[in-house]
């Protein structure tokens, strides 16, 4: 599997999720760390903190708009998956990056169009689902979930 991480809390949650999967089934995972030119310092600092001794390819994208950067990123992720022979892409990136920005398509839409591989969105950090599947992470009640939707956390997606 190819695991795509950035420096967000969602990435750390995804990282734990993937470790659970690889540790249990011996799945071979290769990692791509995402950093943007516009937020280079933050990206580099957090990328180191989640690297955790793993070999990872850093993907630095730059562009004038979020849409341009997403387009580049989706293409590079698809290419990295092809080169590594992955049969699954795990996206552990900030949910805001997964949202579309104004008229630009979201990263997930770009990626879906760029590859035929199944794409797994790791549990978001906000859900408390930071543990491996079945590890008994904190459950979000339907009411809380509705409240999160009402507050517009993802209403712009």
């Amino acid at each position: 599997m190819l695991v795509v991480l950035d420096g967000s809390a969602d990435a750390e949650a995804a990282s734990v999720f993937v470790e659970g999967a690889t540790g249990r089934f011996g799945t071979v995972a290769s990692f791509v760390e995402v950093a943007e030119q516009t937020a280079r310092h933050r990206g580099e600092r957090l990328a180191r903190s989640i690297r955790n001794g793993r070999h990872a390819t850093t993907c630095l994208v730059s562009g004038p708009t979020q849409g341009a950067r997403n387009r580049l990123l989706a293409g590079r992720i698809a290419e990295a998956a092809r080169q590594s022979g992955a049969d699954l892409i795990v996206l552990g990136v900030d949910h805001r990056r997964l949202a579309h920005h104004r008229l630009a398509a979201s990263l997930r839409s770009r990626l879906a169009a760029a590859t035929d591989l199944p794409v797994l969105m790791a549990p978001p950090a906000a859900s408390g689902g930071t543990g491996a599947p079945g590890a008994g992470g904190q459950t979000v009640l339907p009411g809380e979930q509705a409240e999160a939707a009402d507050t517009g956390r993802l209403s712009h997606v």
Binding site: G20, A21, S109, M121, A122, A126, G129, P133, P142, L154
Partner: protein, 137 residues
Amino acid sequence: MFETVVVGADDSAGAAKALRRALDLVRTFGGTLHVVSAVRPKEETPPELPEEFRYTYVGAGATDWLHGRLRATAEQEHLHVETHPMLADPVDAITRVAAEQEADLIIVGSRDDHGTRRLTGVPKGVMDRASCAVLVV
């Protein structure tokens, strides 16, 4: 790994692929597969019609046939499959069942009728609202 899996299924090509993937997972890892098929309620559905007849009223014959086949397959292969025919918005239905069943994974399709991969409202909505992992196939 994935003890409780929820899959959204209808008679589309994308859903068929999602369903195949979900059945493969349950065959491999065991656990329970919840198949959710939701039909959006029509405005002209008589309000006095009992809930159990409403689903049939909106013409969900293809889904009923699919669920029948799934139950037969599950019985034949000793898989634990539960079907959830619902009269609701598909995103609401899938995320509601996932929350109720404390699902580890939701699987949704992303193919249009021509086989082209495209994220439509249902997979997007499920990804936005799910609190567990979502696999888009």
